[in-house]
């Protein structure tokens, strides 16, 4: 049977649950050995990604990525985090903030595969499409 990175991540998570110190180190070393034996070392990033998703799900953590043209103030940051916490019924929110001049204005919020794009760039693109269709 073919083993996917998701399968390995689930197995690692279950094996390491409640372990710490030397036990944890030994377990992780053995996990890497399995990846090497199964020639899956190239998929280690996918395994880590899947492991992080499992951990986030179990601990009620949401990862948010915010991109804006001129940065977001601290008040707006905490308001955004609270809003996301409420929407996704999450316990923790880990947020990353980026600046991108090309967006011109507004803000783009990404949580998992959901995106709320309220930037001027996006609005202009939509206007362009609208005018092409109207023609």
């Amino acid at each position: 049977m073919k083993i996917s990175p998701q399968n390995i991540a689930e197995a690692v998570y279950k094996a390491t649950e409640g372990k710490s110190g030397q036990d944890l180190t030994a377990l992780l070393k053995r996990s890497v050995r399995i990846l090497v034996n199964r020639r899956m070392l190239g998929k280690s990033n996918e395994v880590l990604g899947a492991l992080q998703n499992i951990f986030d799900k179990k601990s009620g953590t949401i990862r948010m990525k915010v991109t804006s043209a001129r940065g977001v103030g601290s008040e707006a940051k905490s308001a955004l985090e609270n809003e996301i916490k409420k929407k996704y019924k999450a316990q923790n929110v880990i947020s990353e903030f980026f600046e991108k001049r090309q967006l011109l204005g507004g803000v783009k919020v990404e949580v998992g595969d959901e995106v709320l794009d309220n930037t001027y760039r996006n609005k202009l693109n939509k206007l362009e499409q609208f005018l092409i269709q109207a023609k």
């Binding site: 996917s4 595969d113 794009d117 939509k126 609208f130 005018l131 109207a134």
Partner: protein, 503 residues
């Protein structure tokens, strides 16, 4: 002038409302041979349309086919060389749609409904989804109106009705496309819209075909959907569904449509290519397990709807190419079992000079006889049996020279029947003329006409009867009836013509 443009633009912009909502966005993780593996898009549905956006503003369309645990397999419709790993992919929540309108008639479009004939854009009035559930039993009407193909052997022996699915099957170079084109040419003035779907064929062949239709004045009521051999397999895969969507647009207006899929063997091959690239398990002849469903869901959309549900019909002529006459291969048997009959073309007959090379013994129309007009039914009733008996006697007579009188007579009649059913390409014959010829044949008027003069007799008789059997023509054309009075007049006209002809 510039003020006017600015004012117009202002008005347009005032109508614009930028709706911002949460969108599902995924990322391309792998791209190869027209297939993309996409991460994210957790709520996507099978056959949903997605759009690929790279940073430069190029937008490409795709269709989600494989829904896996951690990725989605998408076929890309168009040039996939512009899409790269990491590009954004958005789900649309809609099935792939194509623009349709009445102005699509006379045009050549690609598998996405965009014009490719250089005659400018087509203004769309509606968008039709390419995948639709076929009409149910309650909405349907049984087949009762004929499709006049103009090909004598088909109209007489293997009649096709409106709403029927009749397979055209045969080896390469046996005249499958020619039959289909002749049928389109004969629809002039028959109140029929034609859709020709070209799948995986050379552009040059299609160009010739379009020119032929244009020359015959058939492009006015025809739409050509082209997914040529040079385009990716995804285009060949969706082309027949696009064709039937265009047909449904016209059927929804209560019109009758004839659709030709040329050919479904190449369609199956394109689907096999896509399925193998998507790593679906291969089955018989390496086709995926759902290749039957691929064709059945397409052909089930051909139907005749009752008046309560808007009327109209879609008659389908799928074409299948066989290898060395093997009709028991996987795809031919599948499509034979789906359709309401098949027209089998044989290489041997083709090289014997019997063209169209229809093998009457292997061809069948399961529902068409109820759509035949009375006059045709009357004259062609025993023709199939006569031809079958002739073939048997012909094989038997090669062993001996002493044959009794009735056998000789039967052989002579059979030879004449074969001769009468021969027909040149692009020369469809009107139904009423077919009736006259077949009446003369089955009633024995041609028995003593020399074989080499049969064609001459036929054309002369048609011309003569038009002016000397007016009652008969009126009955056949207007009331589609067959009365003793009309028959008497026709019989007399044939007898009179024969006296003059044999002198």
């Amino acid at each position: 002038m510039s003020n006017h443009i600015v004012e117009n633009l202002k008005k347009e912009i005032e109508n614009f409302k930028a709706e911002i909502k949460v969108e599902k966005v995924g990322k391309v993780i792998e791209i190869f041979d027209g297939i993309a593996k996409v991460s994210g898009l957790s709520d996507i549905k099978s056959s949903e349309m997605v759009t690929f956006q790279n940073g430069k503003g190029d937008i490409q369309t795709g269709v989600a086919l494989n829904l896996e645990e951690d990725a989605v397999g998408v076929i890309i419709l168009g040039d996939f060389s512009k899409i790269k790993e990491g590009d954004e992919v958005k789900s649309t929540g809609r099935i792939l749609e194509i623009p349709v309108s009445d102005s699509i008639l006379g045009r050549v479009v690609d598998a996405l409904g965009a014009p490719v004939d250089g005659k400018g854009p087509i203004k769309a009035s509606k968008a039709y989804p390419i995948e639709k559930v076929a009409p149910g039993v309650i909405t349907r009407l049984s087949v009762s109106e004929p499709v006049a193909t103009g090909i004598k052997v088909i109209d007489a022996v293997i009649p096709v009705g409106r709403g029927q699915r009749e397979l055209i099957i045969g080896d390469r170079q046996t005249g499958k496309t020619a039959l289909a084109i002749d049928s389109i040419l004969n629809q002039k003035g028959q109140n029929m819209i034609c859709v020709y779907v070209s799948i995986g064929q050379k552009d040059s062949k299609l160009r010739k075909l379009e020119a032929r239709l244009e020359e015959g004045g058939a492009m006015k009521y025809t739409v050509i959907v082209n997914a040529s051999a040079s385009e990716p397999a995804a285009m060949s895969y969706i082309a027949p569904y696009v064709g039937v969507s265009i047909a449904e647009y016209f059927m929804d207006q209560g019109k009758d449509v004839l659709i030709i899929y040329d050919d479904l063997s190449k369609h199956a091959v394109a689907y096999r290519e896509i399925s193998l690239l998507l790593r679906r398990p291969p089955g018989r002849e390496a086709y995926p397990g759902d290749v039957f469903y691929l064709h059945s869901r397409l052909l089930e959309r051909a139907c005749r709807r009752n008046e309560k549900y808007g009327g109209g019909s879609i008659t389908a002529f799928p074409i299948i190419e066989t290898q060395a006459g093997d009709i028991s291969a996987y795809i031919p048997t599948n499509v034979i079992s789906i359709t309401d009959g098949q027209i089998f073309l044989e290489t041997d007959l083709f090289y014997k000079g019997i063209r169209p090379a229809v093998s009457v013994g292997s061809s069948v129309s399961r529902v068409g006889s109820s759509a035949q007009i009375k006059a045709m039914k009357k004259v062609a009733g025993t023709l199939k049996l006569d031809l079958a008996q002739f073939r048997e006697l012909e094989a038997f007579s090669q062993f001996g020279s002493d044959l009794d009188e009735s056998t000789k007579k039967q052989l002579e009649r059979g030879k004449r029947a074969v001769e009468v059913l021969k027909q040149l390409q692009y020369a469809p014959v009107k139904t009423e003329h077919q009736v006259v010829t077949l009446y003369a044949l089955t009633k024995g008027f041609m028995d003593d006409v020399p074989m080499e003069k049969i064609k001459e007799f036929e054309s002369g008789l048609i011309e003569y009867s038009e002016s000397n059997a007016k009652v008969f023509y009126k009955e056949v054309l207007e009331s589609k009836m067959w009365t003793d009075k009309g028959e008497e007049q026709l019989k007399k006209a044939i007898a009179d013509f024969k006296i003059g002809f044999m002198k």
